[in-house]
Amino acid sequence: MVLTREPAIAPARRRSRWRPVLVLGAVLLVLVGLRIATSGGTVSLTNAVQDFVTLSLSVVIESLPFVILGVLISTVVQLWVPDRWFFAILPRNGVLRRGVLSLLGVLLPVCECGNVPLARGLVVRGLSVPEAMTFLLAAPILNPITIVTTVQAFGWGDGIVVWRILGGFLIANFVGWLLTRHPHPDAMLTPDFQAACAAHAHDADDRTHRLSRGARMVTAEMSAVLPALFVGSALAGLIQVAISREVLVGLGGDPVLSVLALMALAFVVAMCSNVDAFFVLSLGSTFSPGAIVAFLVFGPMIDVKMLALMRTTFTARTLLIVTGVVALFVAALGLGLNLAR
């Protein structure tokens, strides 16, 4: 069975696909201008601009392979995985279905940014918005690479690994359940993406020229996702330059502020879940385990780069709700762990 969508709940606004590219170009122009302005004819940048470029590029370089991989997997899932394979393994009961989807990261261990194109492909194939959101939030944590690196960094001793896994699963499924209460879940998708879903439903029976269709889909996905990645990475770099990391780290001694500080840091540094455990390990001597867990759970779910990527698919209002609920849930988890010690 193919779950086809209604053509569009809201009329799709035709936005130029070149708009993000133009934004990126403008950012680059500003950078070049700053570089020229601060170099005095030689090739040197002020420290802040250098930091911005380095930090932004590091996020892009770190994420790009996963995004490409996610786009390719998404295309394969959309074109070559038969419905009877994909949907047959999913339970019909909503809770169980979301539970299984939140474990899909075990099979697809890509970084959270790679999950966005894959989630888009799954929605096109008929997954509901709550189910896609459950997958998006859970998969970056509940995948073998993330679990192994977290175990390598922290071991099993102080419960950080267990609470990361458990917290990721519970919060993703809770948010998924919450979104099922929405009367029109498809309204949480952007008009552009609703249109794309409708177009796919129209072409679903066309099994000819899959390679050329696949190439077109990869191109379309790339042009949708990559600009968002670049903008998100630039924002991550900008915020890290603007907000001193030392200020956040300085809050490590407080059991309440330390949780909020590391959540803020996770949001800002926009680090892939596969490596974030080693990053935060260096803060282990300063921050409480509750704050560390908050970093490790919140970062893979919500960060500035992920929000930019998810914005290609979900409305701003939806992302605001999801961000708020996830942040509150993670804060409760971190504070609870601190209190229990």
Binding site: D158, L178, R181, H182, P183, G250, G252, G253, D254, P255, V256, S258, S285, T286, S288, P289, I321, G324, V325, L328, F329, A331, A332, L335, G336, N338, L339, R341
Partner: protein, 452 residues
């Protein structure tokens, strides 16, 4: 309000209440220790080892007087955010549960945090030449708290060994008495040979300990080139160069030495040249040697200090290597009978406490009784006497933290093993004695304990 909005509002409100409650709970809860980071081996082997207590929040106004360590040990402390670091200038005792208590200034009342740390027992190595296999000498290791004895390395005719952080340096002799120097990586027991001149004998094989350098002297027989006479070399096992580097004296030439000793916890050594002049040298650096005057004998370092003890015919003195200052060492009398012979002396502290091997010849029996005497400002007392009459004490060495004394004893039936280098005896064993009580903590087969 639609059902969706109502559900959303309830969920958000519930989460806000939970987060607020937990935040309040955390804010009013007294501080606690999240964990303690320390290296137990470093605490008993190195000066300046640290214990870092990670609290779950920063604590203001903490003073040294608020911190106690039981059993008592000197320490300094630093506070950085929520981490409190205790630095122990002296090595801690082996196999002891230390209780660290922090009295924290609170709102009106004081909260005490406690953390227990346990220091490990040491492993002592010995060299066994009358091993069950007559064709293989053995280097044995055994923990002081018991357990099985482990054979770390076995080879025919082992002359000397020295402990490096993860390796053993071993010199072995062939049938002609020529020496080979090898590094044995533990626990794999893989061997790498350090190249030395053909026919050269290797003596005074000593490790710098945790800093990981190896020192030894090379001597070639007369008429063999290059002509070497106790020339001091060092080897850095991390370099994998496979060949040692000569240590040079004030004239820039390879230094011939009577003796040398590594400065604990550093890569420096004090060498006694053949003219009895002492030089402080860091062979890893190109700095010129620092002259320390001329003295008759090196007696090692005062435990837990960088103060060198030297002996001259007119008495002993100490040299503080941090300042270069030489101070006469006034040691009280040992109150032993006038006819007894004073042997090896090990100074325990600057107050003049020392250990001394004393022998009493009994001409009627035709035997000599040996004992170890602990002397100091409070008087002298016998610390250890071998159980069997006629058992000799060959040498005695302190553990790095001065808690135990390893005493080599040779039974009356012991005979020379006729090794051309570092000869010893058959029927030789080592007993480990608690310096504070005199109780024998452990007996070990073999000799040359790793503390010597």
């Amino acid at each position: 309000m639609t059902p969706w909005h109502r559900t959303l509002a309830i969920v958000v409100a519930a989460l806000v209440v939970v987060v607020g409650g937990l935040a309040l709970g955390n804010a009013v809860r007294p501080p606690g220790v999240v964990r303690a980071d320390y290296d137990g081996s470093a605490l008993v082997e190195q000066q300046g080892a640290r214990v870092v207590l990670h609290l779950d929040r920063a604590v203001e106004g903490l003073k040294k007087a608020d911190i106690t360590v039981v059993p008592a040990a000197s320490f300094s402390f630093q506070k950085s955010g929520a981490a409190v670091t205790l630095t122990f200038p002296d090595r801690l005792k082996y196999g002891v549960d230390y209780r660290l208590s922090l009295r924290l200034p609170g709102s009106g009342e004081r909260t005490t945090l406690e953390q227990r740390i346990r220091t490990p027992w040491p492993t002592v190595r010995t060299l066994l030449r009358d091993a069950p296999d007559p064709d293989a000498d053995q280097i044995l290791s055994r923990s002081l708290d018991g357990g099985a004895t482990t054979v770390d390395f076995a080879a025919p005719r082992i002359a000397e060994y020295a402990e490096l952080p993860s390796q053993l340096a071993v010199t072995t002799l062939d049938d002609n008495g020529a020496a080979t120097l090898q590094l044995i990586t533990l626990p794999e027991r893989s061997a790498d040979t350090i190249t030395t001149p053909e026919h050269a004998s290797i003596d005074l094989l000593r490790s710098s300990g945790p800093s990981g350098l190896l020192g030894y002297t090379l001597t070639t027989p007369p008429g063999v080139e290059p002509a070497l006479d106790h020339v001091l070399e060092f080897y850095d096992p991390t370099s994998a160069a496979g060949i040692g580097t000569p240590i040079t004296g004030l004239d820039g030439q390879p230094l011939s030495v009577l003796d040398y000793v590594w400065v604990p916890g550093t890569t420096s050594l004090v060498a006694q040249a053949t003219d009895q002049s002492l030089l402080l040298i860091d062979p890893t650096r190109g700095d010129a040697p620092v002259p320390l005057g001329s003295h008759g004998e090196l007696r090692g370092f005062l435990p837990n200090t960088s103060t060198l003890v030297v002996a001259d015919p007119d008495g002993g003195s100490t040299i503080d290597l941090t300042t270069g200052e030489t101070t006469p060492l006034a040691v009280p009398g040992d109150e032993q009978p006038a006819g007894d012979y004073r042997g090896e002396v090990t100074v325990l502290d600057a107050e003049g406490r020392y250990l001394e091997v004393v022998s009493s010849p009994d001409f009627t029996r035709g035997a000599t009784d040996f004992r170890v005497v602990l002397a100091g400002p409070d008087g002298a007392r016998e610390l250890y006497r071998p159980a069997d009459d006629g058992t000799r004490i060959r040498q005695a060495c302190l553990s790095p933290n001065a808690q135990y004394l390893a005493v080599e004893t040779v039974s009356p039936e012991g005979r020379s093993d006729d090794y051309p280098q570092t000869p010893a005896f058959t029927a030789i064993s080592t007993v480990v004695v608690d310096v504070s009580t005199g109780a024998v903590a452990r007996g070990l087969p073999g000799f040359d304990p790793s503390w010597c």
